[in-house]
Structure formats: C-alpha cells, structure tokens
C-alpha cells in the first residue's frame, strides 16, 4: 500500500511534508512499561517537532481502572522522566496531554470493547480524526490473538478512514505458533493493515545500510562472491537478563535477537537492489533473499550453529551472577544466552559466502555491527611486509555509529612497508545532530501508511522456518552449560567453530 496522501493546499512545501492525516492511536497495554518508556515519549517528541497532524489523539487502554485525567498525569510524568529535561516543553506537553484519553478494556469483557468503539466514534466527531485509527498491541503476546478477535467482533477492524495495527515482538514463539497467530490476525485484518514492529529497523544506522549500498556507486559492484569472503553480523550485549528472567528463560537469544533483529539486518545486507523504495518492493527483496538461505540440516547442526550460556564472571570489573542464578530462571536452565549461526545463501550473488550471525548476553561490551570481510589480494607483491589483513568494511550500528574501511597503506620511508589502517567515519564526530529514537520514526511511518520498515508476514514465517531445526536441536539438554564466563567473548566452542571454518571472529 502507498503512504496515504491527502489534499491540504497549505501543507504543500512545508519541509515537514510527511505529516499523517488526523488519527487516533489506541495503545493496548497503556499501563505497561513500553508505553511509558518508549511510546508516549516518542509521540511527545513527534508533537514537539510538529510532525503530528491536527486533531491527533491517543487512547490508552488496559485492565487497570483509570480516568483519562489519571492517564494524562501518568504520561506527563513519564515524558518528564524518560526524556532529558531540555527536551521537554511543558506547554507543548500540556497540549499533547489534552489529546489523551483512557478507557479500560479486558479481553474477558467484550463490552469494554464496545465502550472503546463508542469513545473512538466520539473522538472522530470531536477531534476530526475521521475514522483513522492505529491500534498498538503492547500487551503480553498471549493477548495479540484475543485482542484481534475482539476488535473484529465490535467492527473496529475497519472504519470510514484507515485502520492499522502495530504488533510488538515477539510475533510467535516458533513456526507453528507464528502461523497460528498470523492466521488469526489475518482473519480480522488484511496484511496491509498489519505492522509487525522490529525497532531495530527504526534505527538510523540500520536504514543507512540501504543508503550505503544503493546511494553509492562504489560498493555495490564489490558486494558479491567475487570480492566478499564472508560477513559477520554481531549484536553483543554487556547486560545480563536483568529483571526479564522469566520471559528470557522461555525465549533465549535465538528468539530474542536473531530471529528478528539480526535476520532483518542480514536481509538488508544481502538483498538484491529493490526496484523502488516502496514498501513491497523492498520487502519482496528481503523475503527473496531469506528464502534463498540454505535450510540448516539437523544432522549437521554443529557445522551451522553454536550455543552457550554464561556463568558467573565480571564485566567492567563488576562481579556478575551466572545465568542459572538469575531471578525467575530455572537452576538447571537449558536456555542459550549465546548463539552463533552460519547462513549460506544459495543465489548467484552469494554462493559460498557464509554469513555468520552471533548475539549474546554478558559479553565484555555492547556492540552491534555488520562487518563485510573482503577476499585477500590475489597475489602478494609485497613479500617483505607483515602478513596483511584483508580489507573490510564495517557498519557500526550501535554505539558510536559509523563506517570503517580497512585497507593497507605504505609506511613512510625508503622500504616498502605496508600497514593496515582504518579509515573511520563516525556520525557522532561528523554531525552535531542527534538521531531520532527508533520508535519515533516507526510510529510516524505507520501513521503515514508506510510499512517499509515493518516485517511482512511471509518474511517472519520464513525466518521462523529457517531457525526451527536449530530451535528443535537445542531442545536437547545442554550438558556443557554453562560454558562461558560472563565478561568473556563467548564459549570456546564458538572459536573452534570459526577455526574449523578457516576464519576467526572479529575482536570487538
């Protein structure tokens, strides 16, 4: 679907040309953590930049009984708490809060959804939102299906304007549950109404992968098996599971990070150039490359995947508990906190070029990056030099967002001494402007009807299908757990795995 357009002659030429039509955003789970920490602060920031349309309204909903006044007070406090003081203008916030409403709903009480429907009709009338609605599911995932059904049963899946629904991660727990959820959602909404959010895609640096590849003529010719030896995509976290032990112990890093964020980044790196930047053109290419990934065979699992779990150690000089000692984690837990997998893409561009994806908790530092490692120069002329590192291009996603190109250069002097140098481009040291929060971009896109940065059902399904053999194999008890110390770079098995591949993990 195309981003919605509407005719307001006075909007023309305003540099904020991407302004959505007046609409109401309904947040289910409005008493929860995500709403106060991310969603409402992001909406406030958009309001402050005058990026929201006239009449824009927010309706919060959860089981907790609360008046609209209470909700406004809570959200006002949250904005003050989660944004820097300098970022908050109380007059703008007050005006923004005047457009907030609350009505309790409970999936066990269908009447509560009728009341929601009435409130929305009133708002359409009072605030001119014309039936344009964006529902946001920020509840426990078990509620996604019942919420969808209830919205359908009171007719809120369609209106005189547009209706869209944003669904938080995780979208399913495995292939079967994903398919079941997708089926239930699509019984009520059409695919183009469904926005499966992956906040990684809202990060500027992730979007910059597309810009780097397709706005520059010099990289794309090298972006293939002739020049690329392999690609490493890493998302390292230095934190443990914190207070999310209960959730994490059911999920593990493969579900929490790799199935969504890392595979999304992988598709951006590996996809073919889309014919346009329209949502489906981009998402078709992403899905295609995902479909080209060679299925991982269960009998050769150790050639494709390595898992690990951290034991007590130290990070930044601070002692850290082992995973099995964390709150709400089973003392004999089998859940992986480290995962590395190899993907082989069976197409002309990438045949025989492995993509290594790794993510883990309790590593020495927090880094997310994509490193494209090029082949060595075919013939080494400079024999007297130290062995040269191959060229690489690194896209740093967080922190210290930037791009580094590694190449060999002559050391000044009479002899030919070649050294590897890094040529660095850092956003932070090049531009003084801060990047917007990922949720700001994604919420605005959803209001505009631009789903480019959201995951489409077929892609989510393909990603689960790809990982199922690994998830099944990892059901088996891991007798070797825990196998890496918190604060180390992961289990020995992982280094050995790369060694067998004739490569090594980048030191980060």
């Amino acid at each position: 679907m195309q981003p919605s357009e509407f005719e307001n002659p006075l909007r023309e030429g305003l540099r904020l040309e991407r302004t959505p039509e007046p609409c109401t955003m309904v947040i289910f789970g409005a008493s929860g953590d995500l709403t106060k920490r991310k969603l409402v602060p992001a909406l406030y920031s958009l309001a402050q930049q005058s990026l929201l349309p006239g009449g824009f309204s927010i309706v919060g909903s959860a089981r907790t009984p609360m008046s609209s006044e209470d909700f406004r007070a809570r959200m006002t406090e949250a904005v003050h708490h989660f944004l820097d003081p300098g970022q908050v203008d109380s007059r703008v916030l007050e005006n923004c809060a005047a457009g907030m409403f609350y009505t309790p709903t409970d999936v066990k009480d269908p009447d509560s959804f009728k009341r929601l429907s009435e409130l929305l009709s009133d708002l359409d009338e009072q605030r001119g939102t014309s039936g344009n609605r964006l529902f946001y599911f920020s509840t426990p995932p078990t509620l996604y299906a019942p919420l969808t059904q209830l919205l359908g049963s009171v007719g809120l899946n369609r209106s005189s304007g547009w209706t869209r629904v944003i669904i938080e991660k995780p979208f399913g727990h495995d292939l079967e549950s994903m398919q079941a959820l997708n089926k239930q959602v699509l019984e009520v909404f059409r695919e183009e109404q469904v926005y499966r959010i992956d906040h990684y895609l809202g990060k500027e640096t992730v979007q910059n992968i597309l810009v780097l590849r397709f706005a520059n003529g010099i990289f794309e010719p090298l972006w293939n098996r002739r020049y690329v030896d392999h690609v490493q995509i890493t998302a390292a976290e230095s934190l443990g599971v914190e207070n999310r032990g209960g959730y994490y112990d059911q999920a593990g890093v493969l579900r929490d990070m790799i199935q969504n964020h890392l595979l999304q980044i992988f598709t951006l790196v590996a996809m073919e150039p889309p014919v346009s930047l329209e949502a489906d053109a981009v998402r078709d290419e992403k899905t295609k490359v995902m479909q080209a990934v060679r299925p991982i065979e269960s009998q050769h699992m150790d050639q494709f995947a390595v898992r690990g779990q951290y034991e007590a150690g130290a990070i930044n000089g601070q002692p850290v508990k082992g995973y099995r000692e964390e709150k709400n984690v089973s003392p004999d837990s089998n859940t992986e906190t480290y995962a590395a997998i190899k993907l082989l893409v069976d197409n002309w561009r990438w045949a025989d070029v492995p993509f290594y994806l790794r993510s883990a908790k309790c590593l020495p530092k927090r880094v997310t990056e994509v490193a494209v490692q090029f082949r060595r120069a075919p013939h080494l002329l400079f024999k007297d030099s130290e062995p040269l590192q191959p060229n690489s291009l690194t896209l740093r996603i967080q922190p210290d967002e930037g791009i580094t190109l590694r190449f060999g250069a002559k050391l000044p002097g009479q002899a030919i001494q070649v050294r590897t140098v890094n040529m660095d481009f850092r956003y932070g040291t090049s531009f003084g402007k801060k990047s917007p929060d990922a949720y700001e971009r994604l919420l605005l896109d959803a209001m505009l009807g631009d789903s480019t940065l959201f995951a489409r059902g077929d892609m989510v399904e393909t990603s689960w299908r790809l990982l199922m053999p690994v998830l099944e194999a990892w059901q088996k008890p891991a007798d070797h757990f825990p196998n890496y110390e918190a604060g180390s770079w992961g289990p020995r098995e992982s280094d050995e795995f790369m060694h067998r591949e004739g490569r090594r993990w980048r030191r980060l």
């Binding site: 002659p9 909007r11 305003l14 540099r15 302004t19 006239g54 660095d424 481009f425 531009f431 003084g432």
Partner: protein
C-alpha cells in the same frame, strides 16, 4: 569551542596553511591523548559579514551552524569604504566536543579581510578556495545590492543564497527585485530567506488546522484574513516583508488574485482586496507598536469565514513569547487548540535550517512570484 592560534597568511598559501593546520591539530590531539581529530565536510559556507562587524562577533554563530553541518567556512569581512585596497587571510579551526567522550567535530575556517577595490577580487578568490564538488552556500548577512556586479558574481558561484528580507527598507520593492532574480535564475541558484523561515511555525500551525477535513471544507468560503504585526516605526506606512510574504503565501496556495494595490486606511491599517473564484477576500493588515510586544514581527493571524455558518482560525504569539498558540471558533464554540514551541529567532538557527536543503523552495519562490504577478 577551541580556536587554534590564528595566523595571518598570504592568500596564495591558504591551502598550504590549511594542511599545516590539520597536521597541527593531529599533533595536539595525540599529545592530549585524544582520539584523532575527525573531519567531515558536507558543504562550503561562504559568509559575507556586514561592514564593521568583526570575525569574533560572528564566530559563535558560525560555530553553531557548522556543528550541525560540518563545512569549510569562508568568512568575508569587507570594508568597502576604505580608500586603501587590501586583502588578507588567515586560517583557523573550530572544534566542538561531540558530546560523547572527548571526540571532536572540527571545521576549518578561512577568514578573508578585504578593503576598498580589492573587494572585487573576492568572488574569484572564493572560487579557488571552495572544496570542489561540494555545494556552496552563500550567506549574505547584510542585504546585498541585488543589482551589483559583486553580488551577481558571487551568486553565480553559489548553489544557494541565504538572505534575510527583514532588513529591506522598501519591502515591496525589495521582494519584487528578489522575485526578478528568482525568475531569471530558474535553474541554478536557489534562494533562502530567513524572514520566510520565521513564518514556518505559523505556516505549520495554520496548515495543521486544515489537516482536519471538516475545517478544510471551509477553505473555499474563507473571505477575511487579519494580520497583526509589530511595526518597525518607519515614517512611511508600509507592509513589512513578513506580512507581504504571509499574504502571498496564503494567496498563492489558495489561488487568490490581487487586482488592486493595498489600500491604506490610516498609517497603521490597510486593506487589500483579493479576488477568489466567486468572492472577494480582504486581507486586513494592522501594524502595532513595538512597545509592550513580546516578540518582534508577526503577532497574530486570523482566518475568517463571515456569514453563516461562521468560522474563525486564530494563531497568535503566547504571552510568554515562546509559543505560538492556535484555536478554532466554529459556530461560537472554541476547539482544536494547538501549541507550537517557537525556536529562538536566532539567525544561526534559521541559517542552519536552510543548510539542510539544496533544491529550490518552490513555495517560497511561488509566493515571491505572486507578489510580482499582479
């Protein structure tokens, strides 16, 4: 901001001095055990300072602009009235901590002082000093003589000219000359007017009203516009440039035509009758006294539908002078309140925003053209 020692240099060796400057910066950062100084550059920014203002006075403003848009700055200080011709240049670097750690964003700045006849050498000199193949922004802080050879010469080397029509003595005549330039140069040079940028929050607020379809339905019946702005105290009654630009914006967007000149009722009020498809639209402009005004320039704007059912959209500066507030009155009821924070009207912030765009601002150019089309 940290400035390295400034060095007066011969113009022909500026590039060499720049190279030395960066080497020196690298040494400083190595000594202080900092990460390498990084240099990114997205544009050339040529700043023409008003006569009599020193480099020191404008430096903080330039620093603010280059913090957002790392550029090579070429600052021109001219003394046209000097009887002695002279040309001097020096290079300096401006560094800002980048926020995280001790890394720095650094931009190079070439300051050229020219006096008397040597001023005419500046355009060709600037052409040799700009970084090749990067856009050239020409920020003319004083209002140029649009017809002068110097301005034309500079303009030809620029991708975008940034001016401020607020300083125009005769706003109508000045904007018409500007419109002529825009017409003449349809392809290459684009124009930015800081005075137009000051209207942006007003335009955003007003446009926001009409996002709502039920209000939009009233647009074809709009028949009165009331603009109140703080007057500059000139002896002749005249509409300020921002008042003209605002009227021209509304008229060009909503396809109103001016068939007559503004009619002055008294020294402070004028009515301008415009023709819409099936009705007359009156633009009523009131110039208020600067005394007691919380902010200079535009103070309030009202759009009205007179007759039944009536409607009114009101935008005005809030009492704190820091916000723009708006509401709608429909059939006697107030609704649709909106608030927009006004940035400090500082030149640097406005200019910084203009560096974000490269192409032509079509709506601005169409508004200018509307002013001459009658």
């Amino acid at each position: 901001m940290k400035n390295l020692p400034q060095r007066a240099v011969d113009v022909s060796v500026i590039e060499h001095e720049l190279k030395e400057l960066w080497e020196q910066m690298t040494e400083v950062s190595a000594e202080e055990d900092q990460q390498a100084v990084m240099r990114a550059c997205v544009a050339n920014l040529v700043v023409v300072n008003p006569a009599g203002e020193s480099a020191g006075e404008i430096s903080p403003m330039i620093a603010e602009v280059t913090h957002q848009h790392p550029s090579r700055v070429i600052l021109l200080l001219c003394e046209p009235d000097s009887s002695q011709a002279s040309l001097d240049a020096m290079v300096t670097a401006q560094c800002h901590p980048s926020g995280r750690g001790r890394k720095q964003i650094c931009c190079e700045q070439i300051v050229i002082q020219a006096a008397g006849e040597d001023i005419s050498r500046l355009p060709s000199l600037v052409r040799t000093l700009v970084i090749p193949d990067l856009p050239v922004f020409l920020w003319w802080r004083d209002l140029p003589d649009f017809k002068s050879a110097l301005f034309t010469d500079f303009m030809q080397g620029a991708d975008r000219v940034i001016l401020d029509s607020a300083g125009l003595a005769d706003a109508r005549q000045g904007l018409r000359t500007l419109a002529g330039l825009v017409e003449e140069k349809p392809q290459k040079t684009a124009f930015s007017d800081l005075n137009w940028c000051r209207l942006t929050p007003w335009r955003v607020l007003v446009a926001g009203f009409f996002d709502v379809p039920k209000y939009r339905a009233y647009l074809p019946r709009l028949n009165r516009v009331q603009i109140k702005s703080v007057g500059g105290g000139s002896s002749e009654p005249s509409i300020s440039a921002h008042g003209l630009l605002l009227a021209a914006w509304l008229a060009s967007r909503l396809h109103w035509k001016a068939t007559t000149k503004p009619h002055w009722i008294d020294e402070r009020t004028c009515d301008w009758q415009l023709e819409a498809e099936d009705r007359t639209v009156t633009i009523h402009i009131e110039i208020t006294s600067p005394e007691g005004a919380v902010r200079p320039g535009l103070n309030s704007l009202q759009l009205l539908v007179e007759g039944e059912p009536s409607a009114q959209w009101v935008a005005s500066i809030a009492a704190d002078g820091k916000h723009l507030e708006g509401y709608v009155r429909l059939e006697g009821r107030s609704e649709g309140a909106r608030v927009i924070r006004l940035d400090d009207d500082e030149e640097a912030q406005l200019a910084g925003r203009e560096l974000e765009i490269l192409g032509h601002d079509q709506v601005y150019e169409q508004s200018l053209k509307w002013l001459v089309s009658r």
